[in-house]
């Protein structure tokens, strides 16, 4: 079984986000990058699938130098090989463009399954897995919390509002991972050492045959901080008085009850 896992390098979820001077990007000064948390579930699932079915795992990521650590981390966890799509033309893209870039890297690879995190934390678009499935003309199951793969088919349990949906279909397919799918392992010291010796293959737009072909159809016009919340009120007294005052304010002042 040949397994691709798409990973993204994102600003640490602990980071305070500031807007850059051009008001179109975030200020990256001092921002630490991490593997997008949902991608960790995708990587773990790739490793588990290989343990069970044998085969080969490949991690793929697009971006600048910040991507290297993420791909090293994948290799340290046990992913076999890594592909870094590194081209100034192909960075900080919108979801559709990202999908096109990843599809170009995946399409002739003979993959049986393509795993992604259900969203890249930060952009929070929830789009790339479905875009990828469409561009590759494959079935999809997104936001998956349980996955079984057997003799050319998949069974996926996915989250919808107030319920879980069970989806079945043939491989190859694109699956996006939700928290709960598995417990991601930490890289072992041995894994970290081994990862240092592995080479990360880099590809640019030429190598992918998409030089000049990626056009942004949507772009950031401006980025702003959310409006400041007005100073709040402190509610004093014994618990009963506090409860009475609170409910009174919610009804008569805030008008939400």
């Amino acid at each position: 079984m040949k397994i691709a896992v798409c990973v993204k390098s994102v600003p640490d979820t602990e980071a305070n986000i500031k807007i850059a001077a051009d008001k179109k990007n975030i200020d990256l000064n001092g921002v630490r990058f991490i593997t997008s948390p949902y991608d960790e579930f995708a990587v773990e699932e790739a490793l588990k699938l290989k343990e069970k079915h044998g085969g080969e795992t490949v991690a793929i990521s697009a971006g600048g130098a910040e991507v290297t650590d993420v791909l090293r981390d994948c290799l340290a966890r046990g992913i076999d090989t890594a592909v870094h799509i590194n081209d100034p033309e192909l960075q900080w893209l919108d979801p559709l463009s990202t999908g096109k870039v990843l599809a170009a890297a995946i399409k002739d690879g003979g993959y049986d399954i393509i795993l992604c995190g259900q969203q890249g934390v930060g952009g929070d678009n929830n789009q790339v897995p479905a875009i990828l499935a469409e561009l590759l003309d494959l079935p999809q199951a997104t936001v998956v919390v349980k996955l079984e793969v057997d003799s050319g088919n998949f069974k996926a349990e996915r989250e919808i509002e107030g319920a879980h949906e069970f989806v079945e279909g043939p491989l190859p397919a694109v699956i996006s991972a939700q928290k709960g799918l598995n417990e991601p392992r930490y890289p072992s010291i041995k894994g970290v050492m081994a990862a240092r010796r592995k080479t990360i293959e880099t590809k640019d737009a030429e190598a992918l045959g998409i030089r000049g072909q990626i056009t942004r159809l949507v772009s950031v016009k401006s980025m702003d901080m959310p409006p400041e919340r007005p100073q709040g009120k402190k509610i004093e007294g014994d618990p009963e008085t506090q409860a009475k005052t609170l409910v009174g304010l919610l009804r008569n002042e805030a008008h939400v009850l």
């Binding site: 600003p11 979820t13 305070n16 986000i17 807007i19 948390p37 919108d94 559709l96 934390v121 930060g122 952009g123 929070d124 929830n126 789009q127 479905a130 875009i131 499935a133 561009l135 079935p139 999809q140 997104t142 936001v143 989250e159 919808i160 509002e161 107030g162 319920a163 879980h164 949906e165 069970f166 989806v167 079945e168 928290k179 709960g180 159809l217 949507v218 772009s219 950031v220 016009k221 980025m223 702003d224 901080m225 959310p226 919340r229 007005p230 709040g232 402190k234 618990p239 009963e240 506090q242 409860a243 009475k244 609170l246 409910v247 304010l249 919610l250 009804r251 805030a254 939400v256 009850l257």
Partner: protein
């Protein structure tokens, strides 16, 4: 010439999702007088035309077929794309639901059109529409502009006003769509209702959330009582989800759901940056916590410092009194 807006009306088991109607109302407000039409997909769903008709779409397209009885990405993508080709709009709107997050990227890609998800504001500007959405779970806001004749947008629930329907229905404007669903490869074989809270977080107008301060999963019933009195959904911090006290579906914050209800009551939640990111666009925030220094108080409309095990039951009984008097 593309014109106006097509709104995808989501239904499951014959129930229309309210947030789809919110999207329809917002489309009418922002179409600049161009036609707003609606699209309904399913099996035997024509009976729902009256409910949609209250909001007067210029036309209601209906893709009604056995193969569309339950949701499938591929079947519904074919139907939505067919609707878009028929209506030839500038924009396709839908509610930002689990279905739309699965369906819209795929349909937009088939049309080589961009999609902006989880939009909280639409700004009409000289015949164009810009979409404003939270990024980094609401730590900042991005305004997006489109450079394409067609664009898809999903709108966050509870943010856009639902107009009063006027009771006059325009059922006459229904047009059947013959969607070729082709072979559906990935099929939904079963749906299981999740346990616990009946109200979905992303659609709830009131959310009561619990964190470490509730001390253990045995104390959820205290919060569930308050939820029931308020008609609220139950939320949770990442800490208690990671501790296994509750399912991830309840998690609010950067690796959970980003919500913007009318009222958010944080109980025993200190307010880690990832949690604040997920709920700080709520209209009114109440924080109940014993630590007066907890960061959550900086964001609270009403801060209650004290023992939540005493305060919450009192709040519940006050709300019940209020309910009885109404």
């Amino acid at each position: 010439m593309p014109q106006g807006i097509l709104v995808f009306i989501e239904q499951r088991n014959g129930h229309i999702r309210k947030s789809s109607l919110e999207a329809l109302c917002e489309a009418k407000r922002k179409s600049g007088g161009e036609p707003v039409s609606a699209l309904l997909v399913g099996e035997n769903v024509k009976g729902l035309a009256a409910e949609i008709g209250k909001y007067h779409p210029a036309k209601l397209y209906v893709a009604d077929a056995g193969a569309l009885a339950s949701y499938s990405t591929e079947g519904y993508t074919s139907a939505l794309v067919e609707g878009v080709k028929k209506a030839d709009p500038k924009f396709v709107f839908g509610a930002n639901t689990a279905m739309a997050r699965d369906l819209f990227p795929r349909a937009a890609t088939r049309m080589n059109a961009p999609l902006v998800t989880d939009v909280m504001e639409l700004i009409a500007d000289n015949g164009k529409l810009d979409a404003v959405r939270p990024m980094y779970s609401g730590k900042c806001m991005g305004t997006f502009e489109f450079a394409s004749p067609l664009a898809f947008v999903t709108l966050r629930a509870n943010v856009f006003a639902l107009d009063e329907g006027d009771g006059n229905h325009n059922e006459a404007a229904v047009e059947d769509l013959a969607a070729d669903t082709g072979t559906i490869r990935a099929k939904v074989v079963e749906t299981h209702k999740a346990e616990g809270s009946k109200i979905e977080l992303s659609e709830a107008s009131i959310i009561v959330s619990g964190g470490r301060g509730i001390k253990g999963p045995e104390n959820w019933p205290m919060l569930e009582d308050l939820c029931e009195a308020l008609g609220a959904a139950l939320g949770a911090s990442r800490a208690v989800v990671d501790a296994g006290w509750i399912d991830h579906q309840h998690q609010v914050g950067q690796t959970g759901k980003t919500v913007s209800p009318q009222l958010y009551i944080a109980c025993g939640i200190s307010g880690a940056i990832q949690h604040l990111a997920g709920m700080s666009s709520s209209k009114v925030i109440v924080a109940i916590n014993k630590d007066p220094e907890a960061p959550i108080f900086k964001h609270a409309t009403y801060g209650v410092v004290g023992d939540l095990f005493e305060i919450i039951p009192s709040v519940t009984s006050e709300v019940k009194k209020l309910n009885e008097n109404n």
